[in-house]
Amino acid sequence: MLVFAISDKGGTGRSVTGTNIVYRHALQGNDVCYLDFDFGSPTAGAIFSVSAVARGTRENGLHHYLRGECPQPRRVDVWAESDREGLRTRPPGAGRLVLLPGSEGGGELSALTDEVVGRCVQLLGRLDEEFDLCMIDVSAGRSFTAELVLAATVRMPAIPFRWLVFHRWTRQHIIAADGLVTGADGLLDVGTRFGHDTDDLRDRIRFVRTAVLEPDAAELVGLRDEQRAWLSACDSELRELAGRHGVGRTAMLGKIPLDPVLQWREQLITDEDVLASKIANAETATAFEDLAKKIVDDSAWEGL
């Protein structure tokens, strides 16, 4: 299963959510890998706490590979190479957790050639042979990278794939997320141009809301009644807006609550962060765990 992670805009928490989902999926006993296709700023290494590739790798990164500069991209075994104590041993029953870092100092792809698509097809096809889940961080907004994977998946019709569109719970983000999927030159538009079936592609896309502040959240206890009432009104307004833009409940796969840890430092949230040091909220870890299951749960992906 290939999962493409995209967001309407930068700063939505796409990378940190994606990596946490992959991490939880590995803990659930699956072999997983994470591909940092965020070519403008490949920072997945930092989230996995692998300092050697914190901002990408100098050699054999994914950009190098796609540009044909190396025969195979580098693989990092997170369980062996992470600097974080809590990640450095593979928990019993957990699957493989592998990161394919981007290239340090790489830029967005500037053109889509047949060779580049061919290399992408080769890479994803081979990874699919050995991993239960491959998550590909496609970066934010419309990009050649998004085009690349849309073109590549047309050439591999038998390999299952899904798209996650990450967005924040605000008016602008809801509209932008909808536009990214259904707007002109959006995913459906471009995908159809490359040869995807529009309806089939739509069924493979779900939204994930990030940094969501629930009106009944514990953080809001100290608020005045007026503030709470205003928040609640905003929330229902947003819900109505989301419904109108096809970003509503039915198209949503999950939501990640606002968590200070994720705001201030992009990192994996381990059970230790929740139970021992208590820096992270249990709800956040549960939300990741839930998404990690839903991502492969066919009933969550039935036609809309």
Binding site: P71, V121, E129
Partner: protein, 313 residues
């Protein structure tokens, strides 16, 4: 001088095993050439051979620069309708010329790479299969693994396959070097999926040596994969029924494929036999298979007991 090759082996990306006729289509890599199929003792299909041109440095242990020009022979195989391979090799010989000749010269010698200038067979053999060889971070030199990998891709990307393989498993790679001399064989496990084989055989090289290496690679992959599946099942660490469910793909898809030396010519069988003594491939395979069967038997017993208990109540 010597022959070097590399075999990549993987699980065919299909939900079940494929039929002989599908094998023929999947492996039909060249118009006008037939796929060779043998049915005893296990169905084995072999694609026609194709060539790839190379002009590059050859791997050397001494890091001295040795240039080789010629063609790599590659082929694909499917064993038991289930295990797929991409296999490539070159015969390395000294060139009579000291410069590169017109390409047609090399095409008249398919599968031969001619070395321009000085080179020692031992240096090349060690460079290709030595400890530092797999992974090879520095400097570009002859990459038979990449060629084999692409040939395996050709099979795996066939539109005749449904891509719904019963389990996920990495490919393995076996690099081998064969020379003529006093018979000996050395099989080495390197990190993760890398293996090397050094073989010295009496008499001149024939493609039977390639068959032997591919046969060894198939069985090493089977053993490696069964080990992974047994490890994933976490016998003793998870409830019996769950462990058995995780072992099921091995029973359905792997356990009947063990057929050591099935396609090895008689004069080469002593090499397989010596590997059977040490490290003992079949011994380890049997013990794993027994373990899987015992788990299934115990779980069945437990289920029967539970049913009987329920009946009594």
């Amino acid at each position: 001088m010597l022959v070097m090759g590399e075999v990549h082996t993987g699980l065919l990306q299909n939900s079940g095993e494929i039929s002989e006729s599908t094998c023929r289509q999947v492996l039909g890599l060249m118009a006008g050439e037939t796929v060779r199929v043998s049915r005893r003792p296990i169905v084995h299909a072999l694609s026609p051979e194709r060539l790839t041109g190379v002009d590059c440095a050859l791997p050397t242990a001494s890091r001295s620069r040795v240039r080789g020009v010629g063609t790599v022979v590659s082929r694909c195989a499917v064993t038991g309708g289930r295990v797929a391979q991409g296999s490539s090799y070159v015969r390395v010989v000294r060139s009579d010329a000291d410069r590169r000749l017109p390409w047609s010269h090399y095409l008249a010698r398919p599968g031969v790479v001619e070395v321009l200038g000085k080179a020692k067979a031992a240096d090349l053999a060690e460079g290709f299969t030595g400890d530092s060889a797999p992974g090879r971070p520095d400097g570009a030199c002859l990459d038979l693994g990449a060629v084999s990998g692409r040939f395996l891709d050709l099979v795996q990307q066939s539109t005749l396959l449904d891509r719904r393989a019963p389990f996920k498993i990495p490919r393995t790679s076996l690099r081998w070097v064969a020379e003529t001399g006093e018979p000996s064989i050395r099989f080495t496990l390197h990190a993760e999926q890398e293996r090397t084989l050094r073989l010295t055989h009496p008499g001149p090289f024939t493609t039977a040596v390639v068959d032997l290496c591919e046969d060894l690679a198939t069985h090493d992959w089977l053993l490696t994969s069964l080990l992974v599946i047994v490890e994933r099942a976490r016998i003793g660490g998870t409830p019996g029924a769950q462990a058995v469910a995780r072992l099921a793909p091995a029973i359905d898809h792997l356990m009947h494929l063990w057929m050591p030396a099935a396609r090895v010519e008689e004069w080469l069988t002593p090499f397989w036999e010596s590997l059977e003594r040490r490290p003992g491939f079949t011994r380890q395979w049997r013990s794993l298979v027994d373990r899987v069967r015992d788990q299934v038997a115990m779980n069945t017993l437990a289920l029967l007991n539970a049913t009987a208990d329920a009946g009594r109540r």
